[in-house]
């Protein structure tokens, strides 16, 4: 099978997810070539053909133009599968490509079982096998689902690609995450609040538990969106990625985006009333309990240790 991997580049850097695409192609035993709108000064370590468009000319986010550049490469390469990361870049560009190719697009693939792509359903509570009815397919891979077992090596054969397609959207620049606040990546213990805390006042009990363990408190996305906690305490793909010695997830169901931000924690404790919550998949210990009862009791006992 022949695959075309769509690598990503942002703000002068090649994104690490590029190597997840390479790992995926290796895992399914496919040939690959790669497409990138980026810069020749930052090439991926990759043995194969790299179709490179210049991001200083075509922009880092410019869907109509990237679409045409990529379609031209697909016409030359004739891949059976076009592979994206399921990222803000990938889920924006992939549907445009699948429609133009009249190909099935299978989103957020977490694994291939006997050649069949598998994707999560309902916040990862369920999974589904997806059957494509088209010969050519587009897949986008969940962040972190595929990884290289060793450091990437090689240098690509670069083929430059050009287009004169007009943009539809104007890119005006990046806005960095709010600076300052808490660097959760350095915390050894993190106690994190999810939607299950129920009301903003309960952040205080999460903070108290964090303190009793000598750590920081954090929050999942719904808690931050509700403005119960600051964005600089958010753990997950759109917040911080953390790897503490202990992560205590309180009332967090375990959406994929949250798990991606904390699954490298050394030891995970989950407190949840739902025994089947996906957080249980990554938890070393799942306490099936109402956090509003358990957390204050636990904090008190820790304080007198």
């Amino acid at each position: 099978m022949k695959t075309l991997l769509v690598a990503e580049y942002r703000d002068g850097k090649l994104l690490g997810s590029t190597y997840e695409l390479v790992a995926f192609a290796q895992k399914i035993g496919a040939e690959s070539s790669m497409f990138l709108v980026g810069s020749e000064t930052v090439l991926p370590q990759y043995d194969g053909t790299l179709y490179l468009a210049d991001s200083s000319k075509y922009g880092e986010f410019n869907p109509a133009v990237h679409k045409q550049l990529l379609l031209d490469v697909i016409a030359r390469e004739q891949p059976e599968m076009v592979v994206f990361s399921h990222s803000s870049y990938g889920w924006d560009l992939a549907p445009r490509i699948s429609l133009a190719l009249n190909a099935a697009h299978i989103s957020e693939v977490v694994e291939f079982v006997d050649g069949v792509p598998v994707a999560p359903v309902c916040n990862a509570k369920l999974r589904r096998e997806v059957k494509a009815n088209t010969v050519q397919t587009v897949v986008s891979l969940q962040a972190g689902a595929f990884g290289l077992s060793s450091d990437p090596v090689g240098s690509p054969r670069v083929e430059r690609v050009e287009t004169d397609t007009a943009p539809q959207i104007e890119f005006e620049g990046y806005e960095e995450a709010e600076a300052g606040g808490v660097d959760l990546s350095k915390a050894e213990v993190i106690v994190s609040a999810g939607r299950g805390i129920g009301k903003p006042e309960n952040i205080a009990m999460i903070e108290a538990l964090a303190k009793s363990l000598g750590g920081e408190y954090a929050a999942s996305r719904p808690v931050v969106d509700s403005e119960w906690a600051e964005h600089n305490r958010q753990v997950g793909t759109t917040g911080q990625t953390v790897s503490p010695k202990l992560y205590v997830a309180c009332g967090i169901s375990g959406a994929i985006q949250h798990l991606a931000g904390m699954k490298k924690s050394e030891f995970v404790v989950a407190i949840n009333t739902d025994k089947d919550a996906p957080i249980g998949e990554v938890a070393d210990v799942l306490l099936v309990a109402d956090l509003k009862q358990l957390v204050p009791v636990l904090t008190e006992k820790l304080q007198i240790l």
Partner: protein, 258 residues
């Protein structure tokens, strides 16, 4: 200004899910249904735009699905949409993103909408394709995953949410489509007077056959519960006992209490 917002009804994600009889989707029985969370932000932004534009604006809410989706549509009407259009389909859960997008595009193509709002994905299927596909089918520019939106003089300015808390500032001319990310705004709770008013608003039904002219490109062949990995310990019981057990475990397995 003509505005369209597309919504989906999904089960409450806290539900106890079961696999249905043919093993290819979740069982729809005994579930609590609600508006897809992403779409609540889409409806709110559409209503805010309608309020900004004033009298010369018209907001339609579209939803594909069986009779029960009308309950969810009524919420959108109570939030401020002017009318609802239900594409009646008892098997919408079997449609792939391309079919759903084609139905919406077929509905929208002759109507001259200046702006179309969708959620960036659904909570159940989570493909994150439909909004962008609708725009492509209609030949409109689209901006996905927005967390900030403004409109002035025929142009929209938006911020896309990227990974790691970074945002991209982008703009484009209308007509256009945007897909809405969580946190874009604060969706309003419908007030009782507005719930009453919504009961009098137009809620049309359109036959699926009028709008579905394509075939799907993919299907779910099997749905199942993921295997529990890792063999994590599951503890139940009284809060005080659980706290003692956990402290013991933390002493044995981690260095954080040392």
């Amino acid at each position: 200004m003509k505005i369209l917002v597309c919504i989906k009804q999904v089960p409450d994600m806290e539900s106890k899910f079961k696999v249905n009889a043919d093993g290819r989707w979740y069982d729809a029985a005994d579930l609590a249904w609600r508006m897809n969370e992403y779409d609540e932000y889409a409806v709110e932004q559409a209503v805010q735009l309608k309020e900004q534009v004033g009298a010369d604006s018209d907001l339609t809410v579209l939803c594909i699905g069986p009779e029960r989706v009308k309950e969810t549509m009524k919420k959108a009407l109570a939030m401020g949409a002017d009318r609802g259009v239900n594409v009646a389909d008892d098997n919408s859960h079997q449609k792939d993103p391309f079919e759903i997008a084609s139905i919406i595009a077929e509905f929208a193509k002759e109507q001259g909408f200046d702006l179309i709002f969708t959620g960036m994905q659904s909570q159940d299927r989570g493909s994150a394709q439909v909004g962008v596909l609708v725009a492509e089918l209609l030949g409109l520019p689209s901006i996905s995953t927005i967390v900030d939106f403004s409109y002035a003089d025929g142009r929209i300015s938006a911020k896309r949410e990227l990974e790691g808390g970074v945002k991209a500032r982008v703009s484009c001319a209308t007509p256009a489509l945007v897909t809405c990310q969580l946190g874009l705004n604060t969706p309003r709770y419908p007030t009782l007077p507005n719930i009453m008013k919504a009961k009098k608003k137009e809620l049309l039904s359109v036959e699926l056959a009028e709008l579905l002219k394509v075939e799907g490109k993919q299907e779910t062949s099997k749905i199942y519960f993921p295997e529990k990995k890792g063999g994590g310990l599951v503890l139940e019981g009284d809060a005080s006992d659980l706290a003692d057990q956990l402290i013991q475990i933390l002493k044995e397995k981690t260095a954080v209490l040392a």
